[in-house]
Structures are given as structure tokens and as C-alpha cells.
Subunit: 362 residues, 2 copies
């Protein structure tokens, strides 16, 4: 399919933002990738074009019935000028699991990776190199059929846009304060919580705003059935180090199967740090803290990589973790993972994929 | 705000479809209404313009985080040439409740109704008059800020499009067969089930497809906590007549507060038919059927008005209701409600609102 990839370069390059102006998701590169889907024909017409608006019929299903899937991954420029992607196949495999749940057609994983590499090559000058910066890549699919019946769309677009980004939280790698949500729920078993689809994020906005008003940067969700078991944070999976063992909620259908989560579990395994995936109740966590056994807590995700949790607030019961400081293991995981991602440390697990090779020296 | 409403008429009118070609949501009228929202400025620039594509940055939040709300109501042309709307205020009041849940700014209800009336007046020739046809009006809001942080948008568009429609189900007012879903869940208390937002519909597609494959036209959802209590159908609330009393699931936060549902409850009240809103378990329904007490079942919604349910399938246990025939009460409710809506019956409850008055006779 990708043999027919066409590339149209922009005639008017945008001015690039300064590294300290980046923030998260505010600026977009000069080009984007698009391909179309039509029932009976499949994915077709892959093309790299200048970054430009999407033009859709107002009856397009994405506006009404939310049939949309997205992914998020990062490209890093190494000191020797190569561009590396972190486990990109995992993202497109997950995209296909999300697609399946939302009745969106499967995407060709190899073609998606190749298209993304070509797009990155075209916009390679946009990849920032200052510490903690990278190029955030956002592949997404939208249902475009202009039809108001509640049924899967016959037409879709798969699009990739890219944004040079700085730290996700203004706190950087400093500990964040997290509010444990008791009233609102993000997802439930049997629902779409495991899929990376727009509706899950819309559902979380209200609680997140209320938490922000109370001085917390994110919400920790509890399960929708018992309102008791820890699920995940807005855009991170969570880990707790209790008495030397690392615990993280098991994949249960309502939380995202994070690529960073998986990588952390693998890393800890290699380091012989015991790690358990299981249901973890919020009471248990508070109990562990009272016994002095809760040593560290951290969130994991593409955007923030590792984000130490310094404080939880559950029904006004404030739990300070590790004196509100970044724990030793959190720090080591952050340094190791970002080191591998930036090409500064060896990559013993073959996680990094070269998107663009080093420029040939003259 | 609406004093500044501008109207730009199309120069190329579309050909209108024949009444028997309509279906649901396939054709759109010549014009649409738009207004914009910007944080700090509020809703502004209301305009009626030729029906045309929406142009959005690919980073617009609606594509990624699903911040979108919609409504659906119908306009009917009476025999004497008036155009009537069914309880339109209820729709915009509900839109504001949905907005609140999804952190979308409130809309001005009176202005929305007035804008919709003006749009209908411009496109009044599009309102079909054949039996069971009407003009379906779809107001919706989309988040347009091009920013990838997970946070409420600073910019929105409120849009109204309109579609001449026929019967929603190919069955017409004949009984539909409904599959009771045991694996997938649409929503849960604490979630967004009560809001008319895109993600709820995306979440339901998969189960609906599986049900279609088995020969059922819709899914009946059970609650996400106990998987036991009846919630609603894809786009209808449900009612059951058991032993002379009409039962319908109580509003519990996870089902839609349907305008038709409310109207049916009021109508039954006026007729002195006992009606109870309460949690109804699926076992109870099967038990009532076994005792010969389940007399009728029907769904209610703007699209189908009243849709008799002739058969349920719960875990392969098939329950035929009223011999698979339309019940007497279902029929009476359908005739009364559509009679009022089409202006053929008196409107003792002041439900109908005139959108366009009758043409002056020469
Ligand atoms: C809800 C949610 N949980 C967890 C994560 C972490 O997943 P990953 O490590 O693949 O970025 C994300 C995404 O970034 C997310 O959106
Ligand atoms: C999920 C859902 N339930 C119920 C209804 C019925 O609501 P109303 O009677 O207001 O059309 C609808 C919409 O039409 C719906 O989408």
C-alpha cells in the first residue's frame, strides 16, 4: 500500500518555537500524513502533505458518535544525529486493539510505522534537543462518513501530526499531587476504558477540573463497580513500591495497557526487583502507608515518562509519600528509561527503532 | 446575542430526495446554523450559511478528547402549513446538563431555539409531509481548540444541521427484536451515560453490531455495576406494562433523560394509567413473563417515537412479548403522540411550539 506514498512539501515553512516555549501539544510541524479508508476498498491514498486543516461534512460521524482512536509516542534526536522511536510497534498494535473495540477497521502496522518514519524524516529539523524535550507523534483515526444513523462508519481517515514538546507537567520530574476521585468514574469493565478513544478523556475532564481547583494536578481513578480498586491516572498508569515490592493494578479491561507500564515491568524484572500486577485497593494503600511500608509511588506514560507521586488525597485524607520527594527507584527508572530513549544508554532490550539514521559525515 | 444573526442564502439549491428515499440522516437541507465560542468572550457570531464542510485544525480537541455534545429533535409540517417543534426547550435544557458534565460552556437556551426556528424558516421547503416523515434537527457542539493537552477546550462551535427523515427502523411501527447485552456495558453511575455525548454511542457500536449479526435490531443495556438492572436501548428509553401498571427504569445517572420518556409518563398520568419509575431487573421481567403478567414493552425516543418490542433475547433465553404484536397501549401512545406532533390532535399540554406560522392565504 505504501509503495504509492506521495510527498508534497510545504512552500512556506513555519517558524519554530524556542525550546523553553514548547509546553505540550501547542506547536505542530510543517507536514502531516494522511490515508483514507473506504469500506470494500480498504486503506488507500497514503500521502505526506503540508500541515493543513481537515475538511469534513458537518454530519461526519466523528462529531456525533465519537468513533475515533488515537495513539501517542515520541521521537528523540540523539547526540550523533539519529532519530529514535520508543517501541512504535506496541503503539500500532494497541491502536488495532482499540480499533477492534470501537468497530474501526484495522490499520496495517508495518505501513503505519513506515509512514511515520517518512514523516519524521521530512520534518526532522523540528525535533528539539534540549533536555526533557522530544517530538510527540500523534497518530489518530476519525470516522468521516456523513450519516447520522448510529452505526460504524464506512469511511475513515488515519492522520499523523507531530508536535515538539517539553515537559508534560509543569512540575517536570518533580513529584505531583494527585486527587483520588470518589464521585466520578472514568470507565468500567465491559466499557471502552482499555481503548485509547476520545470518549474516555472527555469523561475525565470534569473530575480533573475539580481536582485542579483543589490544587491537584491529576486524578487517580477508582474502579466503577466497587469504587475501591485503583485504576490509573488521567494519562498514566500507576505503580507503588510497598515493602520492597512494586505493585501495579492488573490489566482488567478498564485501564490502558501502557507501553511505558509494560517497559517498567520488564525493566524491574531485569533488575530483579519483585513486581506484581494485581487489584490494589485504595484502603490497602493507606494502610501500607500507616505501617510505614509505602515507600514510593509513580505514574508512567509516554508524555511524562515517570512522574513521582508526592501526595494523594482520598476523601480529604492526605497521604504524603516518601516525604513528598522523588524516590530512589523512581529516579533510577526515569534516568534509565530516558537514557535509553535519548540514545545515551545502551538499549539491551531492543526497544529503540531508528526512524532516521545519522547524517553522513562529509 | 441573536440580534446580530446574519443569513447568507445558498445560490445552488440541492435537489430534494423523494419521500420514500429518505431513510434516517442521509440528506441535509440547504443551510446550517453556526455560532462560535471563545473563552472570555462567550458565544458570538451567530450565522445561517449554506450547508458546507467544517474546517478544523487536525489538533482540534474534538478529534482527540471527544468533547462534543449533541441533541436531536423533530419539526413537523401540519396540514395547514404550520411548522411545529416538539418541546424544544427540553432539548436545550438537556444540552446544558450534558455541557455541564463534559465541561462545555452553557448555551443560551432562548437564542438556540430562536436560531433553530430561523433556520427552519429558511429551509421550510425541506420538511417532508408523507406519513411518518419529518425534519430531524441536529444541534451539536464541538471543541475546536488545536491543543493536545487533556483539558477543556477554550474554543467551541455550536452547529445546527437538519435532515428530512423517514421511519427510523425499517420495521416502522412494527415490533422490533432486541438483544439483552451481557458482556459489554454502555455506561456506569459516575460516568457520562446521562449526557448526550459522542463517546456513549461509540461505546455501544460493537455490541450493536454483534446483535445485528444475530438478527436483533438493537441492544438493551444492563447496568455496569450489577449487570442486572435494565438501563435503556441504543437510542430509546424503555417501558414495560406489567399487570396493568407501566414500569420504566428510574433516572439513575447512567441513562438518558429522554424527552419522549417524560412525555409518555405525563401522558399516562393524564390517562390515569399507573406508571412507576424504579430499578427493574431483567430477571424480574422474565419472571413476569412466565407468570403471564408482561403485557407490553416499548421503546421511546425522538427518532422512532414509540417502538413496540416484540422479542427480547437474554443469554439465549428468548422472550416473546404480546405474541410479537404491537400492544394496545403502545399503539394508543404512538397514535396520540404522533397525532399531537403532526398537529392533527389537540395539544392539551402545550407541548408544541410553532417554528413557522401558516402562510397567509391570498
Ligand atoms: C489513560 C491512559 N493511561 C495510561 C497511559 C500511559 O500509556 P503509555 O505508557 O503507552 O503512554 C496513557 C497514555 O499516554 C493514557 O492516556
Ligand atoms: C441513549 C438514548 N436514550 C434515549 C433516547 C431518547 O431520548 P429522546 O426521547 O429525548 O429522544 C435517546 C435519543 O434520542 C438516546 O440517544
Amino acid at each position: 500500500m505504501l509503495q504509492s506514498l506521495s510527498i508534497e512539501r510545504t512552500k512556506t515553512k513555519k517558524r519554530q518555537p524556542a525550546a523553553d516555549q514548547l509546553g505540550f501539544g501547542n506547536y505542530y510541524t510543517d507536514h502531516m500524513f494522511i490515508m483514507d479508508y473506504e469500506a470494500g476498498r480498504g486503506w488507500h491514498s497514503p500521502r505526506i502533505i503540508p500541515y493543513q486543516p481537515i475538511v469534513l461534512d458537518p454530519a461526519a460521524k466523528v462529531f456525533h458518535y465519537g468513533q475515533t482512536i488515537f495513539e501517542g509516542l515520541k521521537a528523540y534526536k540523539t547526540e550523533d544525529g539519529r532519530v529514535l522511536l520508543f517501541r512504535p510497534r506496541k503503539n500500532f498494535e494497541r491502536m488495532n486493539r482499540s480499533n477492534e473495540r470501537l468497530s474501526v477497521p484495522e490499520v496495517p502496522v508495518d505501513d503505519c510505522i513506515e509512514a511515520m518514519k517518512q514523516l519524521i524524516a521530512v520534518d526532522r529539523d523540528w525535533i528539539p534537543t534540549a533536555p526533557s524535550t522530544s517530538l510527540y507523534v500523534r497518530p489518530f483515526i476519525i470516522a468521516t462518513q456523513p450519516q447520522l444513523g448510529v452505526a460504524p462508519s464506512t469511511h475513515y481517515q488515519f492522520i499523523v501530526i507531530m508536535s515538539p514538546v517539553g515537559a508534560y507537567y509543569s512540575e517536570g520530574v518533580n513529584p505531583v499531587k494527585i486527587f483520588v476521585e470518589s464521585e466520578y468514574v472514568r470507565s468500567v469493565k465491559g466499557g471502552v476504558g482499555e481503548a485509547k478513544t476520545a470518549g474516555n478523556y472527555a469523561a475525565g475532564l470534569k473530575a480533573q477540573e475539580l481536582a485542579k481547583d483543589k490544587g491537584y494536578s491529576q486524578v487517580l481513578w477508582l474502579d466503577g463497580v466497587h469504587r475501591k480498586y485503583i485504576e490509573e491516572v488521567g494519562s498514566m498508569n500507576v505503580f507503588f513500591k510497598i515493602n520492597g515490592t512494586v505493585h501495579t493494578p492488573a490489566l482488567n479491561g478498564s485501564i490502558l495497557d501502557g507501553v511505558t507500564r509494560r517497559s517498567i515491568i520488564e525493566l524491574l524484572g531485569h533488575w530483579n526487583v519483585p513486581v506484581v500486577e494485581r487489584p490494589i485497593s485504595i484502603e490497602e494503600l493507606y494502610e501500607a502507608s500507616r505501617k510505614g511500608e509505602l515507600e514510593e509511588a509513580f505514574g508512567t506514560g509516554t508524555a511524562a515518562v515517570i512522574s513521582p507521586v508526592g501526595e494523594l488525597n482520598w476523601q480529604d485524607d492526605v497521604l504524603v509519600i516518601n516525604g513528598g520527594q522523588t524516590g530512589e527507584l523512581s529516579k533510577k527508572l526515569y534516568d534509565t528509561l530516558t537514557g535509553i530513549q535519548m540514545g545515551k544508554l545502551a538499549d539491551p532490550y531492543d526497544w529503540m527503532v531508528e526512524a532516521v539514521s545519522a547524517p553522513v559525515k562529509a
